[in-house]
């Protein structure tokens, strides 16, 4: 049986069947899909070179030898709302119902390094996440939760160093040394400029802070993931799967280059880099994306950046199902959408997973909605039988061909970005931003014209549909109470000590000393988030994006 013979037979067979219009059969990202795949579609396939075995280079099939037989992925629901006290209660609820890791959603002011009483924070305090303006708020957030035992992920980027310092000092006060802490700070500023848009400083000083964080982590918080290089927000902003893959991995390589340029040995920090991907609608495309990501990263880390430790080659990742695919119409359908997306993440070998709640196009989730989302993961883990065998789709002609295709498209993007002078230059020229906006518009046009079906939105609508699920409301008093707490804190603390600490921080920013140490000193003195970020802005300046659409 030769490939040529199969290819001939495949052509003969394809001529016999009605394959439909080719433009009707594409992945959600627009990759054309054939009616059938055979060995002729992966003619150069070499099992040991392209797949190998789980836990071994190139890790296409998974990063652990025994994958989910050894340990199920971490069930980690991104959550935060209102005050630190409200969110603390939600964390305890989730942990009591079988969640295995925490994930903090901060409100917009916190994401921008602003205090709750800043004039720009008006109306936003506690709305999109929890408000954390000081060490005091962080202590409340984790009260009664032993930080030596849980792992905590924090979605925080521009002011990541400060929130991480809040966490480290909170643990210290619980008697837990930083060496024992496990968790992740997102700390991925490049994708902020590209997609999520919560930046503080310009790219160059931002990269310097990140290398300071990597160096500090390697020395004092060795079990902490110091960056979670994120494709999630890129995808939510409307990118294709290939753009998500390419821009995320290129961001990752940019951090590796920054670390090497700052004089760090790649093997000291690379094992602490982790990733965060979206799991979108197209089941097989997503699985192929996760597999391609692992293979590309392993190859680049080993061959381009000459990392020697296998831990540096591993692409470990968290996944969140796609918020942008949820519909406000017939919200219960979102439970099913999320289940498919979560299954794709598991078949793609994720290390950690967040499942969205059905009500999230209306507001932050209610307790009931988030419990169903968590149960969805537990059903996949304990009922569906999919954890028995590693990478069960490996060897599928379709999935292998799609994995190759996504890899090829990612390398095309790498070349384009290199031609623009690297990722920072590409961002400054608005290149990834434009590519994403184009893809988002193409997608919306397809939905508007009915070429892409969204159940409940442009097909199978319910006449006169009324919303019948309860919605979480954030009490407007949260903002007043939070501002009042800050006012009392500013009165109570030793303000002379705060000023000294902020001056020391400014000197470190202006010089070459690692900024983490003076940030920790300022945090211990109860300097607020806004004060610390304000001091840093004085030295580093701020960033603004030219408006374009």
């Amino acid at each position: 049986m030769t490939i040529d013979r199969i290819s001939e037979e495949q052509k003969r067979w394809q001529n016999l069947v009605n394959q439909g219009k080719p433009d009707q059969f594409t992945t959600v990202s627009g990759i054309p899909v054939q009616i059938i795949y055979t060995p002729a579609d992966i003619p150069d396939f070499d099992y040991l070179r392209d797949l190998g075995f789980p836990g071994e280079y190139p890790y296409t099939r998974g990063i652990r030898h025994n994958m989910y037989r050894g340990r199920i992925w971490t069930m980690r629901q991104f959550s935060g709302f209102g005050t630190a006290q409200d969110t603390n209660a939600r964390y305890k609820f989730l942990l009591a119902h079988g969640e295995t890791g925490l994930s903090v959603a901060f409100d917009f002011p916190t994401l921008y390094g602003r205090d709750s009483d800043d004039s720009m924070s008006k109306g936003e305090v506690g709305k999109c996440g929890v408000a954390v303006s000081s060490l005091e708020d962080m202590e409340t957030l984790f009260e009664g939760i032993p930080l030596g035992e849980v792992s905590t992920s924090m979605t925080i980027n521009g002011p990541a160093a400060v929130l991480w310092a809040f966490y480290i000092v909170t643990a210290e006060k619980q008697g837990v040394p930083s060496e024992k802490l496990r968790g992740t700070i997102q700390n991925d500023i490049l994708k902020e400029y590209i997609a999520q848009k919560s930046w503080l400083f310009p790219p160059e000083p931002s990269l310097r802070i990140i290398t300071d964080i990597m160096a500090f982590g390697a020395k004092h918080v060795p079990k902490w993931n110091t960056i979670s290089i994120s494709g999630y927000h890129i995808r939510e902003a409307g990118s294709t799967a290939a753009q998500e893959l390419a821009f995320t991995l290129k961001d990752g390589m940019t951090y590796v280059e920054a670390g090497i340029k700052a004089g760090l040995d790649v093997d000291t920090f690379a094992p602490r880099l982790s990733f965060f991907f979206n799991s979108h609608l197209d089941f097989f495309e997503e699985i192929a994306k996760f597999r391609a990501a692992r293979r590309i990263w392993a190859r680049e880390m080993r061959n381009t950046y000459h990392a020697k430790k296998p831990e540096s080659w591993l692409l470990r990742f968290h996944t969140q199902t796609a918020g942008c695919t949820l519909t406000a119409q017939q919200p219960e359908n979102n439970i099913v959408r999320t289940a498919f997306q979560a299954l794709a993440a598991v078949l793609g070998g994720t290390q950690s997973l967040h499942t969205n709640s059905m009500d999230e196009t209306w507001a932050l989730p209610t307790e009931k909605a988030v419990l169903i989302a968590l149960r969805t993961q537990q059903l996949i883990a304990e009922e569906a039988g999919v954890v028995n065998c590693i990478d069960p789709l490996g060897g599928s002609y379709y999935v292998e061909a799609l994995t190759n295709k996504l890899e090829e498209q990612a390398y095309e993007y790498f070349q384009k970005i290199d031609a623009l002078g690297g990722m920072v230059k590409a961002i400054e020229q608005g290149y990834p931003q434009r590519e994403i906006a184009e893809a988002a518009y193409r997608y919306q046009r397809a939905v508007d014209e009915g070429r892409r079906v969204v159940v409940g939105v442009n097909k199978y609508l319910l006449e006169g549909e009324k919303l019948e699920i309860p919605i979480l409301k954030i009490d407007p008093r949260v903002e007043q109470e939070q501002c009042e707490r800050l006012r009392r804190l500013r009165q109570r603390r030793d303000n002379a000590r705060v000023h000294r600490a902020l001056d020391d921080l400014k000197s470190a920013c202006a010089g070459k000393d690692n900024v983490m140490y003076p940030i920790l000193a300022a945090v211990r003195a109860y300097a607020t988030l806004g004060e610390i970020c304000g001091a840093m802005k004085e030295v580093f300046g701020t960033y603004a994006e030219p408006p374009m659409f």
Binding site: M120, E124, K127, K197, A437, Q444, M548, F549
Partner: protein, 132 residues
């Protein structure tokens, strides 16, 4: 006849700009003149821009939950600055009850997730029949 001029604005700290950009492009493709403010605008900046650009309507995009503060504030400032006729409409993650409250104070139509862009275009054409 002067083309319909629309300001699409992102107030507050909210960085979710996918919807704002898609709507801006759809309105431009429908033949309107569209100005996009970019991110992180205060209500003051938006009202100021609306008046200076002499727009017919301001579309606010808010996915941060701050809509009950930001919509009324932009509307108040437009009145205060002598431009009460500029229509304020918008979209985002806005619960139904809040939409009702905002309609009561005179806010234009609010479009939730899943809205086809032609619906927004039709709404504006209806509001300004002599301009399209």
């Amino acid at each position: 006849m002067k083309k319909l001029r629309i300001l699409i604005a992102k107030p507050g700290l909210d960085g979710h700009d996918r919807g704002a950009k898609v709507v801006a492009r759809a309105l431009r493709d429908a033949g309107f003149e569209v100005i996009y403010t970019g991110l992180h605008q205060t209500p003051e900046m938006i009202a100021e821009a609306a008046i200076q650009e002499d727009v017919d309507a301001v579309g606010l995009s808010i996915l941060s939950g701050a809509h009950m503060t930001l919509f009324p504030e932009v509307m108040r400032l437009l009145k205060e600055k002598g431009a009460p006729d500029i229509l304020v409409f918008g979209g985002g993650i806005i619960p139904k009850e809040d939409m009702e409250e905002l309609y009561k104070i005179g806010c234009g139509r609010l479009f939730g997730p899943g809205t086809p862009t032609p619906e927004i275009i039709d709404y504006l054409k209806e509001k300004f029949p002599d301009r399209c």
